[in-house]
C-alpha cells in the first residue's frame, strides 16, 4: 500500500437549504487501500458518494481524482475517468440480463457509436466481443457467471448485490465506491462478501466502502473515516478509531461535549 492519493476531498461542504449535509470534509483515499466510511444514519456518507460521482455539485470545496479536479465534470465523464459506484438500495437494470448489465458498463471506454453499430464495422465487432468477454470474466470473478443470462430482477437478493459490484467493476475503475454492499446479509454472507472485497482490492482496485457492520469493517479496512452530522470526527487505523471516545459517543448517541 502506498500513500499515493487516488481520491481527495478538500474542505467539501454540501448544503441543502439550511442543512449542511457535509461540512468542510477532508478525506483522502490512497491507492490500493480499503477505506471505510462509517457513521450514524444521516451522517452524510452517501452524500460523499454523491458529490464524488457528480450527482451533487458541492457547495464549496474541491474534489481531486489522481490530482485532477472533478469540478464541472459530467457524471458519465467522472465514471470514465475511473470512479465507479454501487447503490444503497440496489439499482440494477432489472429488465436486462446480468451479462447485459455489465456490458453496458464496459461500454464506457468504447469508441464505436451509432454509425459504427449500424454498419457493424470491424471496430464495433471487436468491441462488442471484448465487452462480452470482459463481462463474463467479471461475473466469474464475482462468482455469479451462472446467472449471466438471467434478468437482473429475477436474481436472488445476494446475487443482485454482487451484480451491482460487477457492474461497477465493468467500467474498469481505479476506485470503487461500495454503498452498504452487505446490507441485509446474514453473517455467513457477510463473511464471504468481506473476502470478496479483499479480493477486489488485491486485484488492484482501490475501495471506498460505506458499511454499518463494525466487525466486517474492522476486519478488512486499512483505514476508517468516521462522519457525524456531516463532519469528519476521526480518520485512522481501525484499531485506533474503535477506541476514539468521539466515535463511541457518536454511535452511542451521547451528546457531544462542549468542545
Amino acid at each position: 500500500m502506498s500513500n499515493q492519493p487516488v481520491l481527495e476531498l478538500k474542505n467539501v461542504t454540501m448544503q441543502f437549504g439550511g442543512v449542511k449535509a457535509l461540512n468542510q470534509v477532508n478525506l483522502q483515499v490512497n491507492k490500493g487501500e480499503i477505506c471505510a466510511l462509517i457513521g450514524p444514519n444521516g451522517a452524510g456518507k452517501t452524500t460523499v458518494f454523491n458529490v464524488v460521482t457528480g450527482v451533487y455539485v458541492p457547495t464549496d470545496g474541491e474534489i481531486l481524482f489522481n490530482g485532477k479536479s472533478l469540478k464541472g465534470k459530467n457524471r458519465h465523464k467522472i465514471t470514465k475517468m475511473g470512479i465507479a459506484r454501487t447503490f444503497q438500495n440496489v439499482r440494477l437494470f432489472g429488465e436486462m440480463t446480468s451479462l447485459e448489465n455489465v456490458i453496458t458498463a464496459t461500454d464506457v471506454h468504447n469508441k464505436s457509436g451509432l454509425v459504427g453499430s449500424i454498419l457493424n464495422t470491424p471496430r464495433s465487432r471487436r468491441e462488442e466481443k471484448a465487452g462480452r468477454e470482459k463481462a463474463h470474466e467479471i461475473l466469474k470473478f464475482m462468482g455469479i457467471d451462472h446467472r449471466s443470462d438471467q434478468l437482473a430482477k429475477n436474481l436472488p437478493y445476494g446475487d443482485q448485490r454482487r451484480l451491482e459490484i460487477a457492474r461497477a467493476l465493468g467500467t474498469s475503475p481505479e476506485i470503487v465506491l461500495l454503498d452498504e454492499p452487505a446490507a441485509g446479509f446474514n453473517p455467513s454472507e457477510k463473511k464471504s462478501l468481506a473476502e470478496l472485497i479483499v479480493k477486489i482490492r488485491d486485484r488492484g482496485y482501490t475501495v471506498l466502502l460505506i458499511e454499518h457492520d463494525m466487525s466486517l469493517i474492522m476486519g478488512i479496512s486499512d483505514r476508517v473515516a468516521v462522519l457525524d452530522f456531516g463532519e469528519k470526527i476521526a480518520d485512522d487505523l481501525p484499531s485506533v478509531v474503535q477506541n476514539n471516545p468521539k466515535v463511541i459517543e457518536a454511535y452511542l448517541g451521547v451528546p457531544a461535549d462542549a468542545s
Partner: protein, 341 residues
C-alpha cells in the same frame, strides 16, 4: 406455459443456424412483397383499393411506428409531436418540387436530413428535461410546426401544396395513379432497411444505452452512459424515419395541407407502438398493421377510429402495459445456441 408468439418466434430464430435464418428472413420478405396478390380476397377494403391501403395507411404507418418505437419504446422518451417530423419530410417534398427540378429519390435524403436536423434542434433543447415535460413540449412542437405552416403563405397556408410530382419511372417501375403496388414496394424496402438498422443498433452499444436510459436514467449516467447524447441520437433517428415517411407520403398523395399533420397522427402512431409492444420491433409492426388495417376494413370503426385508439391506450396501459408482443421478458432459459454466449 401458455402459447406466446414472441417466445415461439424467438426460440425458432435462436435455434436456427445461419442458413435457416436466411431462409426464414427470405420467406418473410417474399411474403411481404407478395401481399398485393391478396387483392380481391376477403381482406379487400371497401372504400380504398387494397393495394393502396397497403401503402397508406399501413406501410407509411408501420414505418413511422418503427421510428417512434426507438424513441418511446426503446429509450422511454414520450414524444407526442412525432407528426412534426412527418410534416417536415412532406413539406420538404412539397417545397422542393415547387422550386426545383429534383425528383422524389433526390428529395428523399434532403427530407430525411431536414427531419434529422429539426429532431436535433428540438432534442438538443428539450432532452435535458425529464419525463413528462418532454411529452408536453414535443406536443407543443408538433403544433408549432402545423400552425406555422397554416399561417405561412409561402407554403400555401391552409390550402397546402398541390401538384407534387410522383416519382419518376425507375428501373422500369412506373409511379403514377395506377401504380399502388410499386409505391407499396418502395415503402416496404424502407421498412426492411429500417428494421435492419434498428436490429443492428439494438443488439449493440446504442441498444444497451437506450435500454439502460429507459430503465433508470440516473444510474445509466453513473455507469458511464452519455445519456444526453444517446437520447439525442434516439430522437434524431426517430425523426429521420418520420421524415422519410413524409417524403414518400407527399409524393404519392401529390397534395399536402397543414391539417393532415395534426396531433391525432402522433397519438395514432403512439397507439400502434403501445398496442404491439413497446420496444419490440415485431410487436410494433404487428400493432401498426393491425390497427391501421382494421379501420379501413370495417367501415363503422373508421368513424370511431380515434376513440378506439384512445381506448387502446387506456386498456393496454392498465392490463398489458408491455403490449401484445412484449419485448424480451423471459430469459434465455431453454434457448440453445443464442447469440450471446
Amino acid at each position: 406455459m401458455p402459447f406466446n408468439l414472441r417466445d415461439t418466434g424467438a426460440t425458432l430464430w435462436a435455434n436456427s443456424n445461419k442458413w435457416q435464418r436466411y431462409l426464414i428472413a427470405g420467406v418473410i420478405i417474399v411474403g411481404a412483397f407478395a401481399l398485393p396478390l391478396l387483392e380481391g380476397t376477403f381482406l379487400n377494403t371497401p372504400r380504398t383499393p387494397f393495394v393502396s391501403v397497403l401503402f397508406y395507411p399501413i406501410g407509411v404507418y408501420v414505418l413511422m411506428a418503427l421510428g417512434l418505437n426507438v424513441v418511446v419504446g426503446k429509450s422511454g422518451l414520450l414524444d407526442l409531436g412525432y407528426v412534426a417530423f412527418y410534416a417536415v419530410g412532406a413539406y420538404t417534398a412539397g417545397i422542393l418540387s415547387m422550386h426545383t427540378k429534383l425528383n422524389t429519390w433526390e428529395i428523399l435524403p434532403v427530407g430525411i436530413a431536414l427531419a434529422m436536423l429539426s429532431g436535433f434542434v428540438l432534442g438538443a433543447a428539450v432532452l435535458r428535461l425529464r419525463g413528462d415535460y418532454l411529452a408536453i413540449v414535443t406536443l407543443g412542437f408538433g403544433e408549432i410546426i402545423r400552425i406555422t405552416a397554416l399561417n405561412s403563405s409561402a407554403v400555401g397556408g391552409a390550402n397546402g401544396i398541390s401538384n407534387i410530382p410522383n416519382p419518376p419511372t425507375t428501373f422500369g417501375f412506373t409511379f403514377d395513379l395506377e401504380s399502388d403496388r410499386n409505391y407499396y414496394w418502395v415503402v416496404l424496402i424502407l421498412i426492411i432497411i429500417t428494421i435492419l438498422i434498428i436490429r443492428g443498433l439494438s443488439a449493440r452499444r446504442p441498444g444497451r444505452a437506450w435500454e439502460s436510459i429507459r430503465q433508470d436514467e440516473d444510474v445509466a449516467e453513473l455507469m458511464g452512459v452519455n445519456t444526453y447524447k444517446y437520447k439525442l441520437w434516439a430522437f434524431v433517428f426517430g425523426a429521420s424515419v418520420g421524415g422519410a415517411a413524409g417524403v414518400l407520403f407527399a409524393s404519392k398523395a401529390m397534395f399536402i395541407a397543414p391539417n393532415i399533420f395534426n396531433y391525432n397522427i402522433s397519438i395514432l402512431i403512439l397507439a400502434f407502438v403501445v398496442f404491439g409492444g413497446m420496444g419490440n420491433i415485431w410487436g410494433v409492426v404487428f400493432g401498426a398493421v393491425l390497427l391501421s388495417y382494421i379501420p379501413e376494413r370495417i367501415r363503422f370503426i373508421s368513424e370511431a377510429r380515434m376513440l378506439i385508439f384512445g381506448l387502446v391506450l387506456i386498456i393496454m396501459m392498465n392490463l398489458r402495459p408491455d403490449g401484445l408482443l412484449p419485448r424480451k421478458k423471459r430469459e434465455k432459459i431453454g434457448i440453445a445456441g443464442g447469440e450471446i454466449k
